[in-house]
Symmetry: C2
Subunit: 232 residues, 2 copies
């Protein structure tokens, strides 16, 4: 702990921000890889993805330790509690995104049937949009940019709509052939995972907005249209 | 904030513990009611359950405010950060349990087909076990009882096994009749919600154990057996 004493508060905050950015970049890569494992059905790739989730979990613990250090070493009046609470919240969301990506990778093992193009296309598009929103909202965090955070928050609706389309295609796929029911059940959960990742990016957007402005984003979270099976 | 100044640290902690216990009791009741809404298909009941989730969300905000007050008003060296970090974590888990119960209630609207007895029985049993574990782990929190927390942690496996059985029955139900596929897809998500509630109770068990002993529970989390479709 001694070395922390010589660091300035700003230096400590800057290290904390960098650790979160690093964790976010790993989570984003895991989403990309897990989706590719599903779409290419590459088993060796799955093990690699599952193994990498530990690194994300380690970074969460590292962030928690930094926050506890910050609160313990400084006078509480002299630190901005919004910074520390935000760091804890964002790392919690990133850890969950990592778990959801790992789960997509694991489930891809049970989806060895040839998927219809419309399902592949929709899931691929939803995954790309989730990756994009996550990247944007982490940049917004690093740059303390409330506008970009609000933009991400508003665009989660697009993900929800893609997930609705995906889930409907998957149940049609199930209805077409009894033998597809079990693999397709995995696809329903995988689609739901992508939607939940989008929600975590939206949580981060709310945290960043609050951190920068001290206010909550106005209005209710925008939601997809029909949204029955995705259950929002 | 002024009134807080005259309260002792122990009084503040005791109020925080009571708020968490109250939030937990509400979450437990929501699980019970949501399961009943599914099994009895009572639509009016669904609206009531959905409405009550706001109260759980309010309590989470109340707990966050109490924690920020605690850290801000006291010297950080004079407070036990484990207490405040634990309170934040437990209230986060309870908030998620509330959301998952609300989601079960909402989905019950789309499951108006007559369910086979084996599905009803397994989902009912899983729900009761989740309620029981949640009650036990909150009592463990109030009584600072690491042994009971560890017992809950070990018994989550029973919930996972019930969920596996439930998911297999649900996919068989789907295979039997095309028209059951959409309602049964909701049942898959509802079963998964119960499993996730069990995981949140397990998270709380880990938090309580750490709070009381300063250590992590040893070993890996016990998991159900086949666990393929539930995706653990």
């Amino acid at each position: 702990m001694a070395e922390h004493l010589v660091k300035s508060y700003d230096e400590q905050l800057s290290i904390l921000t960098n650790t979160i950015a690093k964790m976010g970049a790993l989570a984003e890569k895991q989403i990309k890889d897990a989706t590719e494992a599903l779409l290419t059905n590459d088993q060796e790739f799955v093990d690699e993805i599952v193994g990498k989730d530990d690194r994300i979990d380690e970074l969460e613990k590292n962030i928690e330790a930094q926050v506890v250090d910050l609160i313990t070493m400084r006078q509480p009046m002299a630190i901005d509690l919004r910074e520390t609470v935000s760091a804890m919240k964002i790392s919690g969301d990133l850890e969950r995104i990592g778990d959801l990506a790992k789960n997509i990778a694991k489930r891809s093992r049970y989806v060895s049937v040839k998927l219809p193009d419309n399902i592949k296309k929709t899931i691929g598009a939803a995954s790309e949009k989730v990756q994009k929103n996550l990247k944007l909202v982490l940049d917004a965090f690093v740059n303390r940019d409330a506008k970009v955070a609000e933009m991400v928050w508003n665009s989660d609706e697009e993900i929800d709509n893609l997930i609705d389309i995906s889930m409907n295609s998957v149940t049609e796929f199930m209805e077409g052939e009894k033998n597809y029911i079990k693999p397709a059940a995995h696809l329903l959960f995988m689609s739901k995972n992508l939607e939940r990742m989008g929600d975590h990016a939206t949580n981060i957007a709310e945290t960043v907005y609050y951190l920068v402005t001290g206010d909550d984003i106005e209005g209710d979270r925008p939601k997809g249209q029909s949204d029955i099976l995705s259950g929002q």
